[in-house]
Symmetry: D2
Subunit: 499 residues, 4 copies
């Protein structure tokens, strides 16, 4: 397929880019691990995300809530912030602020045995509401004391995770969630009046409209604090299982965006909530951490499509998750295992990392946007953009012919990932899909993961031709590049004659 | 062109690989610079050279030889080892031992004004022979005290550099060089009896045979210590100047190897010197630090050819030089400037770095060698090798069809540099050949400098087909790779169907 | 107290220094954490331990043993080495080899519910012996494949931990331990014939002699592999509880050494086991990870005493544990919390780290040893040594007057920790014992943790006087130090006149 | 001596703290060296200086100004910014902006042979004024292009260095300096209209008043740009030479401050210049880089005195220099050699580094200042301050008794350097003043260089008693520190009873 796009310096298009606002992570306790932190540093060196959101703040492994049995048989509540401090310090060292998710129930506060994941997170209501709100307030107050009220007030705070699923909230009991929201939101504001609080953090599916309606009515009627609304969005449909893995077809990016738009419109039907920020606190292609799509170039192409459009309907969208240190279904056996991460274990970038890098670093004003590219213009007259070519089993290439007004000699720099480049999965397969990598294999895979690069000279307003192979995600920059050779340097003297 | 090579586990060929024995460096004083050390660390992370040799041990900037004027008007000799220690410590931190070159005359000891290079190294005989030998002995004794006699005795020690050129040794005066060798070699052995000493460090050209003959006769007749013979070898011929730059045609690799072979045979005609080690203490394509070939893929291809053959005629061959922090003709204006280095300034790898990486890490036994490849066999039944395709202005590809006995599923991993891959020069040209790089340009160039990678599955003894574009240097490894997929993982479910 | 020690170059004393052979760690799974690895790097930068031993190789969090339920309802055993590789790679990057402890029972293989520690390690026999030995063999075979047989054969392998305690081995059932040893030792040798295997890893107390007797008889009678014998040794007695903490008086170092000597003699009474290596695979003052002695200078003094003497009776002694990332009794609330570590959380050295540093770096031949010092002589005529002054509530100083033959000007360098220097605990107390440290507090505590230093000039064989305050551990070095001032440098021109 | 200072929360005193505004460096070309950058990183990790000023921007080794001889015999001017970029990037990586000193004459532009220092900086007027201003404009324009106009406009720009000394400016020719200032200041503004430009960068002495008068009149009369006035200030008097070293007595801090005050008043007598910023672009005790005072605690005490007072009379004061990589009198033979640096070679801190650290990190409002201390109060009710005790050969201690209103339990944290602590010089002397340090000696000296620390508990408004030994510089912080022990933790159970 081929497209021709001709732009002038005056062209403008709508594009809301929140790609770098937030990123997801496996449960917070894993943030103490060295491998996790290395993957995070790698991702941040390219994407510079601003916030990070993950599960399990109050899960056992962070060990915040403690009960000491006293000699007289009574129990004293204690709060242990040793690991929380260590984690928050690590995030800050990576330039990240938390997007707090208040959730998972300390076992000692749980009202039931409903547990989820390999790591057995408890997902039942508190058996003592005031103990729960004391815990929330103590935690936020501690963070305020350590990092300052001004700082911590900038951390958004979401209450619970996907309560409309029975695994994440016992019986998916809506009434009990509303009650939880009520007491928790008030507790948050008590501790930190300027912290932004929100919910209901629901996943998509057929219950979301009911939940959203009831949640918004409840907040309105009870006059509860509500600074933002949150939901999740995944593209996976029609799952099929094979061994440890789940495969499914993916919905269109448009379908997914429209799904979110309905929530946006739902909110806006409440006059008092019109324009209230909507955060997609999780999104991805598949919702399953053992779906091989996450390791592929196809994933990067889907995500590029979403990143171009989600800003129309939401104020942020947090990719679930930045890395592959993640234990929801247990410890993986192999470096590639369909994990959510943009980075495979041992810091091997997957194609999706580049898709994020491309969007997170875009600047300038949008001059053009369609279903396969975004083009930005800088004040200094240079241009950049991102393009993508989603091919589910198809093999069609996409050629974009861009006429962008740059006078004189210019340089077109493209960087891309696709089935061939920046895509270590095929190489790992050729190696036999080894579980333990040798040093040589690891070096090879990291080199195979580097995006393709190409730099071309364009003369006198010459058209920029971008050819995207199947499932490519591509960044280009077109800069004025007058030739200023050092006296006598002829780069073409040696070597074979170029074609 | 196409070749077919069929090997069994029993095939053996001759190949002497000393690629990692030594590497050259600009004048030693530059070794104190941060950029120099970063380039060196990068090179060492890939090549793990064992020794390093450079000019200017006794030049002013290392400040070893000092004269203090005393109140009574007399002069006291002093030796300052502050910078020497700092330099040696830096080399050791990179896993390197020096290959000492005793040379350049401290200005205060010089008998004349003959100077060379932007940095004005004095190249005249000492005006006081005993002051010179005191300096040599004091320096070696200091090194012995600091690093231990056993350690320092392993550092080869060459006397002077290219005395058969008048720029490097006043009037290219052979008699005076012989005298210098005599007093210096004896001084070395006095300080460190087990240090290996050698010379005459001559460059090629029409005087080399005379020099070699006289030098060997002199050592024999005077019963001087001589532990190795050294010379240089460059491929450049017929220079042509253009602005600041020099261009010339390159001799064949065979021509260069034969030239060295004549020196080998020359030595062996002296019964007492038969088999004495011969070190090529400098080699490269062009001998000029402003020859653009050094920045190109063609350079890598030539060097691969030399690395395959030089071991037949020499015990080591030291590439001049590892990096581009080098000031012989002044400070360069641009990151690429035809410098000798395997790495351009700001740590941008050039193609030649990969050629060295490929050879320095070869192991196993040689099963095949010809004029375009070397094939090694490992005890465990895996194979690896290096291939190259020198094309001066030609555009012919080279296809190698290798039949190597590996049973079952195998993985063929290739990494290569050529005109397209691992070759940042063309990208820099497209950028306009900027002198100052932006951060984005630097990142782009470093990615462009990563070698190409390809991993293929071979089944049941299938032929390995290596296609080398013009001026490619390529490494391949063929390893048994039984497929061991994790239960249910299907890497090909998603993405476009492979062709 | 004052002692006078006069030595000549000929004096020799017996001293077996195995301080650097092995160090302990909390459960292995914690080795994945960033803070753990930072503490380990700090310790290794000073002590350079060779081996590391910890619990929980087969505990859930390393996730090695897995059971997959197949669609047909059967169960397939799987071994996951993802985390094991990551851990072993981290150890090797710190220059460490494991001292393997085969132990803790995967929950899926456990025969009962006996569990220990906050992290719930199962300590029951396998319910399927062959599944257990398959696990052992699969694990060792994997390690052999990854790191090489020669390398892995150098890792000692101990079977289980403290089976004579019912917490660590259900009912402390000796017969069942012997059976476990039998099948496991044979499995080890099957996988790696040259791996050294041993047991019974018992703790001290009144059952140890019975256990040792039965174990040795059993190995002899059953002709089982036995390459070394292991036991533990702690100095704590008469515990008293206070809140979360345990306090007890400490036995003498001599008492502890004698206790080990009895085991040594016990082994030697078996002719076939005479001289068999005896490894103390855990030792410390208190055996409790909430005993404040571990944070004190007194601890360092006790340990110094043990390090001087334990080599008489054992082939190694592994301090339990190097760092404070340790969760046996849960997550600590405060940086100092009586943890076993030589280093408090956030990498604050405790005095005991210096005691180890002093012993681990000792070299030369022992010239003198008594109950408060060890003096070593180097071939080059210099001297060094370690001294200590254990004071339980006492306040006596110890003065050592050493006459060591060094001719001419000499330099006496001492470094020490005691109640005042290298002891951050008192400073932390003055700060109010904060749970969360500010950056300023952390910097202050790290500076407070630096050992005291003193350098003195001794002239003409002058006596070296070492004054040790209460609970000091001190290292000294006495080196020839002829004065070689730079011309005109007078260090005493400025500043107040020295006393 | 003893002083009693009683303060309330309302006390205020005048104190202008510009300690962190700027620091000096040896010639800029040395900034490319690895050791230089390590020393700078160390200093910046403690002091966080904002600007850095050094000599030799246009000296040969930065190689900016070049002349190429063309084939037709004419000469083409060229500007090479390779090293300048590398240097500026290194400064920025350390968080530093340059305080530019436009100076030293490229040899090719020099009108004479007047040279200074081991590195032979040319100090004559340009022989072609327009070539000089082209150079200035080209350099500033390049910096603007690379780092942005907004950024570079924040770099102050001083014209030449100490032109009132004949070594630094041929014949100390005032008229020629005024001409240089005129053409250069105008060139600066032409390139960067918002850059602040100033002079005359004179040293103290008997010519300074004349120079200042003439300079200010000239600027006024010629209506030249003048954004700040600059001068230098050193305390050294009555020099005495001994070998390579210079010793002199030091003027009082008051004397030095008064000297600067006269310049301040001089400026203010010009109505149009009243209040114009005055920068002391160099200050120190001795002006000689081979004066041992720089290595001593006495130096730190003098500097503390100056840092407390110089803000009364100047807008900044730049310590000459941060480190000991400095070659004005050649390469030093020994790690301590009286160099200006706060850090000796191999990154050994000298006492003066702590004096700067103490002042650079002071915050809050000044409550008290006298000739031996500064006391600051924070909004949260805590206190901090710096005290010093200058003793030239005297041995008097200084005791400060501070009554500072802090209610409840408080912690007094003091850190200090003096003759005993944080002072590695005496240890190095005891070692024999070795030129080459062993690894053990280096470790020892770095530990000896750590400041003393002490943390005390004060109860109920108890007086803080600070005892300063001779030549101490001390920082204290007094913070509320309620005791919050973990349940049962008794830090005093073990160890000797405190006195």
């Amino acid at each position: 397929m081929e497209k021709r796009i001709q732009l002038t310096a005056e062209d403008r298009a709508s594009f809301h880019n929140h790609a770098d606002y937030c990123v997801g992570t496996g449960r917070l306790g894993l943030g103490l691990q060295a491998e996790y932190q290395e993957q995070l540093r790698l991702v941040q060196s390219k994407c510079h995300f601003k916030h990070i959101r993950g599960h399990g703040l109050f899960h056992e492994d962070l060990a915040i809530y403690q009960q000491a049995k006293l000699p007289d048989g009574t129990v004293r509540e204690e709060y242990c912030f040793t690991y929380l401090d260590r984690l928050m310090d690590a995030y800050r060292a990576c330039g990240l602020r938390p997007f707090l998710e208040l959730g998972f129930m300390p076992w000692a506060l749980a009202s039931g045995e409903n547990r989820i994941f390999w790591w057995k997170g408890n997902t039942t209501p508190p058996r003592d509401e005031s103990a729960w709100t004391r815990l929330v307030k103590a935690t936020l107050t501690h963070l305020k004391d350590r990092y300052g009220e001004e700082e911590v007030s900038q951390w958004p705070c979401e209450i619970w995770n996907e309560p409309n699923l029975p695994g994440f909230w016992e019986n998916a009991d809506l009434e009990k969630y509303l009650r939880l929201y009520q007491i928790t939101a008030l507790a948050v504001k008590e501790a930190l009046p300027n912290m932004r609080v929100g919910g209901p953090a629901v996943c998509g599916g057929n219950t979301i409209e009911d939940w959203m309606e009831r949640f918004l009515c409840f907040c309105r009627d009870e006059k509860l604090p509500l600074d933002f609304v949150s939901r999740h969005a995944y593209m996976g449909a029609a799952p099929e299982r094979k061994g440890r893995y789940l495969y499914h077809t993916m919905c269109d990016t448009d379908f997914t965006i429209e799904e979110v738009r309905r929530t946006r419109e739902h909110i806006d039907r409440f006059p008092m909530f019109r324009g209230l920020p909507l955060h997609i606190t999780e999104f991805n292609t598949s919702y399953n951490p053992r779906c091989p799509i996450h390791d592929t170039a196809e994933n990067a192409a889907h995500i590029a499509g979403l990143l171009a459009g989600l800003g129309d309907v939401a104020d942020s969208y947090s990719y679930w998750t930045f890395g592959d240190v993640f234990e929801e279904t247990g410890v993986p056996f192999t470096p590639f295992h369909g994990g959510f991460g943009m980075v495979a274990d041992q810091c091997i970038p997957k194609p999706t990392l580049s898709a994020f890098e491309f969007f997170c670093n875009l600047s300038g004003e949008c001059a053009w946007r369609d279903d396969s590219c975004v083009v930005m213009r800088h004040q200094d007259g240079s241009w950049e953009g991102v393009a993508w070519n989603i091919q589910r089993k198809g093999r069609e290439s996409l050629t974009l012919r861009l006429s962008l007004p740059v006078s004189g000699r210019a340089c077109l720099m493209t960087r891309w990932v696709d089935e061939e480049r920046g895509n270590p999965l095929a190489a790992w397969h050729a190696m036999g899909e080894p579980a333990s990598l040798t040093g040589e294999q690891l070096t090879f895979l990291r080199e195979a993961a580097v995006p393709g690069t190409k730099a071309e000279t364009l003369e006198g307003g010459q058209e920029a031709v971008l050819t995207l192979g199947p499932n490519a995600a591509l960044h280009f920059a077109l800069n004025p590049a007058p030739l200023s050779p050092d006296d006598g340097y002829d780069y073409s003297w040696y070597g074979s004659d170029p074609t």
